[in-house]
């Protein structure tokens, strides 16, 4: 079983998984964010030949979650495809795997900034944003305070000092009212949660749940480090 932990957002009980997925037991819904299919081949077009296995690696991760949790609904929180040409570059084998996966559940694509409209071939419903009970799903956190908002987009990572080592990992970032999910794409990089881009998103005390091999590890804001040795930025 994938290591996991309970997180409450806007009083809803959610399960955060160590591979970056989120599960909402009450609604039997699996949420994944920023899959960035075909990022590798996007770089290959420019002559940077990253291993062409990132789409498969990402798909395998999502498929494993569906097998393990058997959700009724899957929500992709946007930026599922790295660019408009992703479908054309995708290996047929990978495309079929994705097709079958989407067909096996109620699949909802939330639109992101990288993929204005997901390729029709794969099916599923498409929404700009979606309110479900007490939770609001959208790609990028709104400028106004939206209680119960689950978003992605930023690819949050956290950095901490453990003994003498510095550890930098993808993370779930939440203050109990809103939550930003980590990117699940195999080649998706990250933006430190202390970066000014996150300013104003969290009102309450921020906790970063860092993804580990055997579990998720919570760190309060005052334990987090920025990426350079720069002064700690005020968070919250």
């Amino acid at each position: 079983m994938t290591p996991q932990t309970e997180i409450f957002v806007n009083l809803e009980r959610l399960v955060a998984l160590a591979n970056g997925a989120l599960y909402w037991p009450a609604r039997e819904t699996l949420i994944v964010s920023d899959l960035h299919f075909e990022k590798g081949s996007h770089f290959a077009m420019k002559g940077v030949f990253l291993p062409p296995y990132d789409t498969r690696a990402t798909l395998t991760r999502v498929a494993a979650m569906i097998r393990e949790l058997k959700p009724k609904t899957v929500i992709s929180l946007g930026d599922a495809f790295h660019d408009g040409g992703s479908e054309a570059r995708m290996e047929e084998q990978d495309a079929r795997l994705l097709e079958a996966m989407v067909a096996s559940v109620r699949w909802l694509w939330i639109l992101g900034n990288h993929d204005p409209a997901p390729p029709a071939r794969f099916g599923g419903d498409v929404e700009g944003a979606m309110l479900v009970g007490r939770l609001f799903f959208r790609h990028e956190a709104a400028a106004y305070h939206e209680r119960g908002e689950i978003s992605g987009h930023f690819h949050p990572v956290a950095r901490v000092r453990a003994e003498t080592r510095l550890i930098r990992r993808r993370c779930f970032a939440t203050d109990g009212e809103r939550l930003i999910m980590p990117a699940m794409g195999a080649y998706a990089g990250g933006l430190n949660i202390l970066d000014s881009a996150y300013d104003g998103i969290f009102r309450g005390a921020l906790t970063a749940w860092m993804l580990g091999e055997t579990g998720l590890y919570p760190f309060a804001a005052d334990r987090l480090l920025p990426d350079s040795g720069a002064q700690r930025r005020k968070v919250g």
């Binding site: 081949s41 030949f49 195999a186 350079s228």
Partner: protein, 814 residues
Amino acid sequence: MTDDIRLLPQAFEDWFAARGWAPRPHQLDCLRASRAGRSHLLIAPTGGGKTLAGFLPSLVDLHEKGSSGALHTLYVSPLKALAVDIARNVERPVADMKLSIRIEARTGDTPAHRRQRQKYALPDMLLTTPEQVSLLLSHSDAGKFFSGLNAIIVDELHSFHATKRGHLLALDLSRLRTLAPSVRTIGLSATIPDPAPLLDYLTGPETRADLIRAAGGAQPKVHVLDVERRIPWSGHSARHAWRDVYGAICASKMTLVFVNTRSQAEMTFQALWSMNDDNLPIALHHGSLDVEQRRKVEAAMTRGVLRAVVCTSTLDLGIDWGDVDLVIQIGAPKGASRLTQRIGRANHRMDEPSSALLIPGNRFEVLECIAAKEAIDEGALDGEENRDGALDVLAQHILGVACSAPFAPDDLYAETIAAAPYRTLSRAAFDQAVDFAATGGYALKSYERFRRIVKTPDGLFRIRNAHVAQQHRMNAGTIVDAPSYNIRLIGKSGRRTMGRKLGTMEEWFVEGLAPGDTFIFAGEVLRFEGAEGMDAFVTRAPDEEPRIPSWNGGKFPLTTYLAGRVRRMIHDEANWPHLPEQLREWLEIQRDVSLIPDIDEMLIETFPHNNRHFLICYPFDGRLAHQTLGTLLTRRLERAGAQPLGFVPTEYSLSIWGRRDMSALDMDALFDEDMLGDDLESWLSESVLMKRTFRDCAVIAGLIDRRHPGQQKTGRQVAFSSDLIYDVLKEHEPDHLLMKAAWADAARGYLDLSRLQALLTRVRGRLRHARLTRVSPLAVPVMLEINKETIVGEAQEAMLKEASDALIAEAMRR
């Protein structure tokens, strides 16, 4: 001699005579070989007139035949600064004899307009670095540029022929031989034990370079400092001997003080200044200091205004620095060849003996220093392990060749295996490297349509477009710098606008600092104030104790050869009377309470101490190999239920401790060579080490772009991380070329696997296990290392001292 007079033109005879010099025999040998069109390797100690010997044939040839308007001689140096200095030195005789020869240097620092001009108006001699040669060869006019080439001089060849830079240059030399088939190659090297790999390096397989040795200089006078005071049990600082070092500096004209790490250089420099009542000009020189600062120190040395320089390996190579009459080595020398080369920095006149003083930092280092002294007295040197040509380097070279002109794979393969490091490369491996350069070389062929190298109708391979060449040139070279911060000094007001740059420090060190932390750098105690972008801002904190003790940099492993000598010294009781009193006593008690192993045996001791159970072995194979051994042994012990808790390696021994008594274990099974199979593999797959070597290989091979200084300003916003790529590749194509290259680097650079393999083979069936009831004398140094790792901070100094005194008392009880 009549022959030699004909050999050397009159103008040159006169030039030598005007200086009161005579050409040295090896200089004439080089000239003779060159006149016969032979490549050659000159082995000469520093001060042997090596540079002139290298250039003399070209100067004579240009004098006799006149400049042809083509590039005549290419000089390649591993050091940028050396290329520039040598240019100045060679200008001297050229100016004196009024020869019409144009000499220019070309390095990464040469302004673009001059580099451009060099391609139109070719100088007669170009002095440059391996990276620049590679870049020149990647241009479309490379054929024209090099077609008239007569001679290639490779300086300090011993220092880099077996590295990735050496591999790249070997491929470039092979290419140059294709472009200029009659070119001669001249290698210049310091004294080395086995010239064969260097001779192979200089030519293709069909011929072999001549070997020319300069007459050996006077035997150096080497002393090992013998002190009455207690010799420390562990540590490398040689704190106990700083007074003696200062005394030796006072008694000499000019002293080079070599230490093994940059932090040790800082510490020693501070200590010498704290006792410098005579205000002697003592300077500091190491790789983290700002280039300007280093050049100032070098210039001051040349002018002869300094009395001592505390330095690291940064001064191992280079031109002659004034009148150095004493070389001091603080801490263990680690290898006889390195020590010989360092000692060679003193008295650059071959007829006068160099003088050197070795300062051991601890007891084992005393043995090591004595072993090194004896080796030098016998003229013995340690060999260097050769390694097969790196595949990431080959991939870069292939793309570079394609950038200059379309190539036929058969021809390029033939050219590649003519380069010594690649002589055994299979065609399949070569084709894989071509495929890598073209598409990334993946089993899944989805990138065919994005090929960087395409096949033309006539079967040649050419690059897709000019963008590929541009991208290649941005990423060429084999040196992947660890990301580093500029250390900038600011005033107390804390204004961060500018700040004078003191030097650079590795990223990991700076990122481990918190504002307010103090450390020693550039000879001062500094306080870290914060960082922005790639600048770390510091203020002076002269009154504070440095809180963060040290940073790494420049550690050499003990050579196999010297390790063998140390093992013999310990084993050979007949030799003990020649050792310092304290060491003799140490070994005698060891013999009485534990045992002294035979030369080919390895001693293993088990004993309880402070509610822990210890297993200590003494392979003497260097910290790296011991570190790997420790990692693998603890995994095995874990499986055997021995509950190991930790381990600490030193250069000489390895200590493992745990909750359970390990004395009943089957040692032969524990140390069996099969640990290099599954145990190694499963450990590596979890370790971050492979990710580090993978990143460097990916950059060299051109898979991911280099970070350039300008780009670094934007911080960490790299498009993707090499760690993520590694994870995906490991899972989906574990035998990819880059994975192989990363493995080869890890095995050599971080694990010392070949040495561990040799160690396990050597001691198989020859383990001597001593089951003891308490710590033994030989175990004390490594036991103190354990304390050091777990107890830090000044408040605990007293506690540490107490604990170590008790430990030593226990060990030295008969």
